[in-house]
């Protein structure tokens, strides 16, 4: 008897199909002092993990020279939306090598948009390649 047959993960329907190398903007519901607001976290998806618990994805960004990585469970009901801003061209599933690269090296060549209905593509944010 496998746990997968018994406990179905309740995936968050707000999360579109994403892949490693994508630049995404994650909107997160934060409640503090009885009030609810949205918090944004924008960066590159460096890891997507699948598993019994529904899996998770990790977003990396560099702010003021400090690398910040945040992992979001794909089941989390707090994620309001995930906006895909860019698709990076990558040849690996886990982009841990991005951690060792400086800001200039850490840019990825852009990949042509996949045919995914939910993906949002923004032309003006295109980086020179």
């Amino acid at each position: 008897m496998d746990i997968r047959e018994l406990v179905e993960p309740k995936m968050n329907p707000n999360i579109p199909q994403i892949s490693p190398g994508d630049t995404v903007k994650v909107s997160l519901k934060i409640s503090e002092g009885g009030k609810e607001r949205l918090q944004y976290f924008q960066g590159m998806v460096i890891r997507i993990r699948r598993g019994v618990d529904g899996g998770s994805f990790t977003v990396r960004r560099v702010t003021y020279g400090i690398g910040v990585e945040r992992t979001f469970p794909l089941q989390s009901p707090l994620i309001q939306s995930v906006e895909v801003l860019k698709h990076g061209k990558v040849r690996r599933a886990k982009l841990y090598y991005m951690r060792g690269l400086s800001a200039r090296q850490a840019r990825l060549k852009e990949r042509q948009e996949k045919i995914t209905e939910q993906a949002v593509y923004q032309e003006e944010e295109t980086e020179s390649s």
Binding site: M1, I3, V7, V52, P73, Q75, S76, P77
Partner: protein, 205 residues
């Protein structure tokens, strides 16, 4: 109602509440069980409910006689309880006697670790790694004094067999119940390997 239920460990996962709180849970296939015997004070000297669970591979004649009219269950376990008046032989027990938020004690056979040293078995610190030490890295150290008392005290913690022992984890909160699939979710970890037999007792208030 019923004092508890017998189940099988399925594995662990996590669930999220609406507010975003994450809870690590263990999935248990609990039941369905049958009451195979009700013991009472006058006849047996104590009162208890005996439950049967699972499917027997082979039963001998006395076992078949004991289970006459009931499914051929593979496991029999007894639950001590004061009140047995509402229970009778042949009753079916499933997880629906529990409610969300109830607390349960879960017992099981812990995973066997074999012959384990004191560092693993009793969390001893072991010896220094450097300063000329050899063969002392995971040693227990002194186990007593010299001429007085002249022996090692009883109960001294030493290396030995670890695990494969009945362990009870108390007050686990019931997070999910699905009687149609005999599924029970409790918060936290429970003893033993997957597919291990578990005794789930409702905590009396």
């Amino acid at each position: 109602m019923f004092p508890g239920i017998i189940g099988k460990k399925i594995g662990m996962t996590r669930v999220f509440l609406e507010e975003g709180e994450m809870i690590a849970v263990t999935a248990i296939k609990a039941g369905s069980c049958f009451v195979t015997q009700v013991k009472n004070q006058t006849k047996d000297g104590y009162s208890a409910v005996q439950l049967g669970f699972g499917q027997a591979k082979h039963l001998n004649a006395p076992q078949r006689g004991h289970l006459k009219g009931i499914d051929e269950v593979g496991y029999l376990r007894e639950f001590r309880t004061k009140d047995v008046s509402s229970v009778k032989r042949g009753d079916k027990v499933d997880v629906s006697f529990l409610n969300l938020g109830d607390f349960v004690n879960v017992s099981g056979l812990s995973k066997g670790k074999g012959f384990a040293g004191v560092v693993k078995r009793h969390h001893f610190a072991g010896g220094p790694k450097t300063h000329g030490q050899s063969d002392r890295h995971r040693a227990p150290g002194s186990i007593g004094a010299t001429t007085s008392p002249g022996r090692v005290l009883k109960g001294m913690r030493m290396a030995g067999h670890m695990g494969s022992k009945r362990i009870t984890v108390r007050n686990l909160r019931v997070i999910g119940i699905d009687a149609s699939r005999n599924l029970l979710l409790v918060k936290g970890a429970v003893p033993g390997a997957r597919k291990g037999l578990l005794i789930i007792e409702k905590v009396r208030k």
